[in-house]
Amino acid sequence: MSPAALKDAALTALVALALFAPLVGLRTDVAPAGGLYLRQRWDDVAILVALAFAARLALLAWRGQRRLPTASTAPGWWEAPLRRLGALAAPLLLAVAVLLPLGAFSWDLGAFAIPAVTGRYELDLGILVLTYVMLGWGLNIVVGLAGLLDLGYVAFYAVGAYSYALLATHFGWSFWLCLPLAGILAAFWGVLLGFPVLRLRGDYLAIVTLAFGEIIRILLVNWVSLTGGPNGIGGIPRPTFFGLTFSLSGGPGTFAGFFGIEPDPSHRVVFLYYLILGLALLTNWVSIRLRRQPLGRAWEALREDEIACRALGINITVTKLTAFAIGAMFGGFAGAFFATRQAFVSPESFTFIESAIILAIVVLGGMGSQIGVAVAALVMIGGFELFRDLQEWRMLVFGAAMVAIMVLRPRGLVASRTPTVTLTGRKRAISGELVGEGHG
């Protein structure tokens, strides 16, 4: 055992001690008499610190024998098939997404009948996943393309949700009028935040956006007269199908009544599903288009080298602001959808963990990759639901999976970048090692 390894392990133990002493060592409990008292658990701390020490030593010894798998940004084995399937994989996913709700109904096709295969639960899960796909694609514009680390994206989601909630409950405006307004308001807040903040770089930008996300949430909690405070806003109108409601009465003004079909609660769910699918696809379409435009190219150039951009006459403040505003706008759309789906919004839905999950989806998917983000959202949100039985352990599983992926594939599932334009007509992927991550 080399002294260097011992020193390293001792350092680890010290860090563990500093962490576990307050976290584990001291615990408040309710005394039998009724008051609170401080229970001390130093033996547990000692065990944990010893474990950390031993584990670190073991890790060092193991690493001494064989090299740790090196982090790789080279194309993974799945990337080549995925790309070869590329023309196929995306439409396939899309087809599944489009066809999923049809399984909610039983079809009587004369000769044979297909029973309903997807239930309400699957549809709700689909809506949830699609919401995160949309949020991921929206944040991807800011983080993946422009390289600006935004830790407060949920703020724009909140602005969109509350905009719709307030406009719809106070003025009774329809969803289709409020949706663009919610997006515009979120974009407006994006510009407002971006103006002073985008001069900052890297860590500073991340911290300020994080703070902004919290400020918005705290504002929502405390501005009771407008937002209802922690109680939130309820009774938000549900979206209508071109003016037709989804009520179960089956009357003339309802969806079922108009089309002369049996009223079914799943009609609304299916409608909501297609609504978020459409919104997500809009986000995707706009990002893909923008990426091939000078604006999107300038975003990517900004991520690669800000100083070079300035030397080419690109106004970096304006360019960053557009990325921020457009990203925020899609966050606002998603927020409006969230409000109409839940019919209830409260500050609890817009905590930092939401920002963290959306950012994790973007980073996991591979910054800048549309399909990567979609797959990551599916895996993360779907996986989260799948492991519901594990209860609090699933957070542990989730954390471990994140660490493993970041160690093995620090640039995400799809690490390479596709050129936006070619002379030869053959688009060859660019290795993630060459692609910049942005500095803020």
Partner: protein
Amino acid sequence: MAEARADAAAPPAGRDLILEVRELTMRFGGLLAVDQVSFAADRGRITALIGPNGAGKTTVFNCITGFYRPTAGAILLRDAAGGVAELQGRPGHRIARAGVARTFQNTRLFPGMTALENLLVAQHVPLMAATGFGIGAVLGLSRYPRAERAAIEKARAWLDATGLLDRADDPAGALPYGAQRRLEIARAMCTEPILLCLDEPAAGLNPRESEELSALLLAIRDGQAAGRGRGCSILLIEHDMGVVMRISDRVVVLDHGRKIADGTPEQVRADPKVIAAYLGEGDEGEEDAA
């Protein structure tokens, strides 16, 4: 474009100047990196800025291109029509739009973007205008497709002129060093500048590449490169004396932030102050001067 005061705008007799630097001073805390330097660059000519390491050449460039705000002094850019723009204190992107393009001592390409994409980013300003500032382009409404085709043609011409046509779709970061330097020049030229500022473009090139670079710079000066038709004045920082003496029309020498000589290559080469400055730099300087 802010017009300069009448007296500042008066051009000196006999020379058609594109750039005039007057008493430029740049101080970093206690360090006087550039000390009251005045010089001028002629239109359609190559002006070299030389001097030992740390003389302040890059700092002068950074002041001209708006990356530093000079402590004192004036920088005037004259376009062909006679308009005068004061560059000092303007933000870098506005100076670039006024027609000053630059390369960097350590190349600053967009490594994850292809060579072609690098050249399209350089044409951002006109392309952005053609898209109707983004909105029209998303909807596919504008005259953007035609503008982009023209931009690609211009990029192709410059890739051809710099010998990079077969690498057009390779990421810039994967190109060999010499190719990256050429690509950076092509990218600067795609902004359609009237003044091209090059910071040590021959550094790290082998003799054959230096030779090709000299030819390229002469072609750019005379407007023969990439079928541009219009010449471009060049301001050149260079350590490779072979290149400097071969292609410069005028040489300005800096040492310790001060101008110590200004004249034709022959005059400068014979100047005892210049020889002393380079000899005083020690082994490294002699190697550079060789």
